[in-house]
């Protein structure tokens, strides 16, 4: 079975053909030729342990592309992977043929090179606040993987790459397009066959919504999952109208604001709103955004609805008047995703049918499904904090944290827990989607729900490296275990850090505490500083006693107090310089 053949009746000028079992959309255009091939596999199909594998294959498939004057590229999205090119017809044919040939027989000897390229591409790229929201909504799976880097690159094997390619980059999972009126000569789109794949699974780890996260400094955002369709699209546009008026037109509250709409599966879409606050006004941005969405639950201004409709209709008009060939990539995405094709006439009618009541009802859905991210708590608006603790806590061998005795690590038969007076974070072994290991014995476990536990053996009383290694490693599947290279010894935490403020919340992915500011701290400099502290301290405190007894004829009997003060100051200094940063 191939991707279902689309009904193109509403798109005059576009026809469908088939090459080597791959459907091909065709529409002629003047000038050069464009073409591409799209696969129904993307980053959201991966697991955390294989994350990056699709991107890696995309790179490998393009490894040998040397085309003169042709513009070509590949993109790995959450739901699909696209290869496209523009140039002469023979360029397009050669490109598509080469991509398919590479996918049939991937240059696996280049895997390590391409992994390095992907790692350096990712350097400096942050998953940002959007990533944290994805993890808190979806966990460490599916669309939540966008909140992590391509963590799987450190463990993906050649066999896995070949297996993924053979089962996902297949003819049943592919669709091509070429801006031509007929299939060009010499096209060879032979691909493996392994059946059609479903869309990414939509996971959800938020037990209750609306919920909020805190810690975004300069603005506010929310995203919400709602039934997809024209009502959600129109409601998003109405919301944007309201926000432009409330936060920009009538007030100087927002610097920039963005309303996004992303289809998640056959039924659901994500609407996301980001407001970058004007200087010093993030608090007003939070209140303004909450009031704007809150108000839409009850009132839709006719002008806003009219503006939203007009904007949507303009886009439809642009589609209707565009040369058919320009629509091919968008139609290909729709077809490969299994979504019905809605022609301009039908789309226009559906947009015009959306009423103010529909928008109000949709605003209620948006409100009740929302995950907020702002500077502070939002319980005042009836929004609950997103969970920062697991439901379960393991029972087993318990090790107290040296610097915070009320925090304990529990190594249980079924998992690992970090227990604090406020709650516990647990990762079950059978639910662990990634185990990161370093040779010094530290381990990081990530659960499918996005909770993470960092085990630093040096931080716990009586916890030996072998306790950790022997307890954890055999219980976690090797297929999710990654062995990382040895750390810089300076990155291994010392035993006297300041009390941690960590809650073990999701999304604290600063692996191995690498975000400590100010670079490595020299031990020698600390020794010198401590010595200087004592010299100055003895002079000042000792001198002070002498001075007082001279001037006031009063003998101050401080005894050991100055010495204790110096000891205390020295410990503080060492902690400040060598303490573990917040993880």
């Amino acid at each position: 079975m191939t991707a279902a053949f689309p009904n193109l009746a509403d798109f005059p000028g576009i026809t469908a053909a088939e090459a080597d079992g791959v459907p091909v959309l065709l529409a002629p255009r003047t000038g050069n030729t464009a073409g591409g091939i799209i696969f129904r596999v993307g980053s959201a199909h991966e697991t955390l342990a294989t994350s990056g594998i699709t991107h890696l294959i995309e790179h490998l498939a393009l490894r040998d592309q040397v085309l003169s004057d042709a513009h070509l590229n590949g993109h790995t999205h959450a739901d699909v992977t696209v290869f496209h090119v523009a140039g002469s017809t023979s360029d397009v044919v050669a490109y598509l043929n080469d991509v398919c040939a590479a996918l049939r027989e991937l240059p696996v000897d280049l895997i390590e090179t391409e992994k390095d390229i992907l790692r350096s591409e990712a350097e400096g790229r942050s998953t940002g606040f959007g990533g944290r929201m994805r993890i808190n909504r979806h966990g460490a799976r599916g669309f939540g993987l966008a909140g992590y880097g391509e963590r799987g690159l450190d463990r993906i094997t050649a066999d896995e790459v070949l297996g993924w390619s053979a089962t996902r980059f297949t003819r049943e999972n592919a669709l091509a397009w070429i801006s031509a009126d007929a299939l060009p000569e010499g096209l060879d789109l032979r691909l493996p066959t392994a059946g059609r794949r479903p869309p990414p699974v939509l996971t959800n780890v938020l037990p209750d919504t609306p919920a909020y996260l805190t810690g975004l400094q300069d603005g506010v955002a929310f995203d919400t999952v709602v039934p997809r369709g024209y009502t959600a699209q129109i409601a998003s546009r109405v919301l944007r109208e309201v926000l432009h008026r409330d936060l920009r037109g009538n007030a100087d509250i927002a610097g920039t604001l963005d309303v996004g709409y992303e289809i998640l599966d056959d039924d659901l879409a994500r609407v996301s709103v980001t407001v970058q606050a004007a200087e010093d006004r993030p608090d007003a941005a939070v209140g303004g955004l909450a009031d704007a969405l809150g108000g839409l639950r009850f009132h839709v201004a006719p002008d806003d609805l009219a503006a939203a409709r007009a904007e949507a209709l303009d886009e439809i008009a642009a589609v209707a008047s565009a040369p058919p060939a320009d629509l091919l990539p968008a139609l290909a995405h729709r077809v490969i995703s299994g979504r019905p094709l809605v022609g301009p006439v039908q789309a226009r009618a559906k947009i015009e049918q959306v009423t103010a009541d529909d928008v109000r009802a949709m605003a209620r859905e948006m409100w009740s499904g929302a995950l907020w991210f702002g500077p502070g708590v939002m319980d005042w608006a009836g929004i609950a904090p997103a969970p920062v603790w697991s439901q379960e806590r393991g029972r087993g061998r318990t090790f107290r944290r040296k610097d915070a005795p009320d925090v304990a690590l529990v190594l249980a038969a079924e998992g690992v827990s970090l227990v604090t007076p406020d709650g516990a974070v647990t990762v079950r072994f059978d639910d662990c989607v990634l185990l990161e290991c370093v040779p010094d014995g530290a381990r990081v476990l990530t659960g499918a729900d996005g909770f993470r536990i960092v085990i630093e053996p040096t931080l716990y009383e009586a916890l030996g490296v072998w306790d950790v290694v022997q307890h954890v490693d055999p219980r976690v599947s090797a297929s999710v275990t990654v062995q990382l290279p040895a750390r810089d010894p300076g990155d291994i935490p010392v035993a006297e850090p300041p009390p941690p403020t960590a809650t073990g919340a999701r999304g604290r992915w600063g692996l191995w505490g690498g975000d400590r500011s100010g670079g490595p701290v020299s031990v020698m400099a600390t020794v010198v500083l401590v010595a200087a502290l004592w010299v100055v301290g003895i002079v000042v405190l000792g001198g002070g006693q002498l001075l007082l007894s001279e001037l006031l004829d009063f003998e101050l009997r401080l005894g050991l107090l100055p010495v204790l003060a110096l000891v205390w100051a020295s410990i503080g200094l060492v902690r400040q310089r060598h303490g573990k940063s917040d993880r």
């Binding site: 939070v286 909450a290 009031d291 108000g295 005042w380």
Partner: protein
Amino acid sequence: MPTARDAASTAEFFDPLAHVPNGAALRGARDAGDIRAVLAATGALTTHDDVVATLWAVAGHATVDPRFTAAIDAADDGTPLARTLRAVRYVTVGWAIRSRFRAEHVSAGQFEQFHDWLRRAERVLFDVCSEHPGYVPAWEARITTARGLELGSGEARRRFDRLAALDPQVFAAQRAYLQQILPKWSGSWEEASRFVEECTAGAAPGSLGPLLAVDLAVERWLDGERIVPPAMLDRVRQAAMSSVWHPEHPRTVATATAHANLALLFTVAQQYADAAPHFEALGDAPVEGMWGYHPGEPAVNFRTHRDLAAKAAAKAAGRRGPGARA
């Protein structure tokens, strides 16, 4: 102002409802716990300052009595007025727990309860403002919940602006927002002065905006500026002429509050003759205004200084001869 006071003598002595149309009926209904009658009478009021002051006066009654809270809850018929009264009740109950100490003197437990009540209030007000965005009294209360919940002065200002876009002359709202930007909350004297200027400049003829300067002067006095600068007194005299003494001044309960505060400022500045006409304007119906700031029992203070002012005025009148007026 959620300066809930439970001392019976004070509550009886100061009575803002005396300055509200049909105030006696309102007071009777409140004292009888007949909240439906309270709502009916409040709903008949025509100025926002009267409605707002009535809500705070009713909600601030018997703040330690949960039965009164229950009565207000039970009378919620879904109208914005009834819902706002509920919310304001929660604010006054919470604020009574917090008491009138500054933040550093409030215990953690008090703060927790205070915030709890304010959150309850804010949730009600959030829905009221969503459903009835033109309902001024709810926005007025939200200026105070924003302050108590420490949502930030940017948010408090946004709420004030939403309200001012509906009615720019609500004196209670101006006073509520001024509190937010005082140094004791999260602002500064400069910011507060700028806002006072803004309200003065934007005041409609005869409206109370210019008298926000009195609030500011009293706050500075409370903060330790024991000598009110003569320039400030001149400014306030002028502000009184352009507001409460202006021929077009629309009288509301806020007028009475303004007189009480003017009387207080001239009293602490020891300008008793200036204070006298403001005491007089209140007649037999004193309102508390900021008299709670004066050390000691507010009612006693008020009475004592009213007498001093009357004597000083009589003396001044004697000097000037009959018929003269300050």
